[in-house]
């Protein structure tokens, strides 16, 4: 069980102790500089010459999910565009074959 300290000597002692603490004199804008340091420590390290984006891109490329997705997009897009072009070429081939059959070059 706690007993309340009502001794007046203790109160004086406490007051003396509070007065005896030395409050350090902080440099100007101390708090601001502390926060700035914290932010700098949390931010990713900057590299020289502005090549951070290259490293970020390399890191992105090496991520398996990104690499697979990019490869899939490239393959599907390429195949679709190629198929469209192939369809056009097949149509031109067929047209040329019909023309050659009904209108030889000597008549055109």
């Amino acid at each position: 069980m706690k007993s309340e300290n009502t001794n007046p000597e203790d109160a004086r002692l406490a007051a003396l102790l509070r007065e005896s603490r030395v409050a350090p004199i902080l440099p100007p804008r101390f708090q601001e500089s502390v926060w700035r340091r914290i932010e700098e420590a949390g931010a990713p390290a900057k590299t020289d010459g502005g090549i951070g984006w290259l490293e970020a891109l390399a890191a992105l490329v090496l991520r398996p999910r990104f690499a697979l997705a990019a490869a899939a997009v490239l393959i599907v897009t390429g195949a679709l565009l190629g198929a469209r072009e192939g369809g056009q070429m097949a149509k031109q081939d067929a047209q040329a074959r019909y023309l050659a059959a009904v209108a030889p070059n000597s008549l055109r």
């Binding site: 490293e55 490239l74 195949a79 190629g82 149509k91 059959a101 008549l107």
Partner: protein
């Protein structure tokens, strides 16, 4: 830095290779799938949305026209050989060469008239709209070449004859 650059460049090369490879594979597959070298009339069917009945009639017309066309082409080739013989070693156009030129031109005109007649017959087997489109397209494809040549030789295309 070098490592990152190598990784990005390698990824770019790989990406280009993937895109290019799939592009050409798709193009080749589609071209080979749609191609039918055994049939001259595939284009007509797809371009003018022809029914089986229309295709049957057009095939008959086509088969009837082919031998006549081949015969005319053989006659033109023979006449051209005569023209070349008449021009061979000549320093000017002899009356005989001029005569052969006229005969080649007459044969070509006769053959073209026969060809246009065939196009007209084919167009009649189609629906009116498709028939008109077919006729216009065939005239553009077969006679347009001469129009381009004539336009390029005329003054409107920037070429002028200067008579002194």
């Amino acid at each position: 830095m070098n490592r990152s650059l190598v990784i990005v460049l390698a990824a770019l090369v790989l990406g280009v290779a993937l895109f290019g490879g799939s592009y050409f594979a798709g193009q080749r597959a589609c071209r080979m799938t749609l191609a039918n070298p055994a049939d001259d009339l595939v284009w007509l069917r797809t371009e003018f949305h022809l029914s089986d009945a229309e295709m049957t009639r057009i095939r008959e017309l086509h088969e009837g026209y082919r031998p006549r066309c081949a015969e005319m082409c053989a006659r033109i080739a023979a006449k051209k050989a005569e023209l070349e013989a008449a021009l061979n070693g000549a320093t000017n156009v002899s009356p005989e060469a001029a005569q052969k030129l006229a005969e080649v031109a007459a044969l070509r005109a006769q053959c073209q008239a026969q060809m246009l007649q065939h196009f007209t017959e084919v167009s009649r087997t189609m629906s009116p709209e498709q028939g008109r489109r077919y006729l216009a397209e065939m005239q553009r494809l077969t006679l347009g070449f001469h129009e381009q040549t004539e336009q390029s030789m005329s003054g409107t295309a920037g070429h002028e004859h200067h008579h002194q």
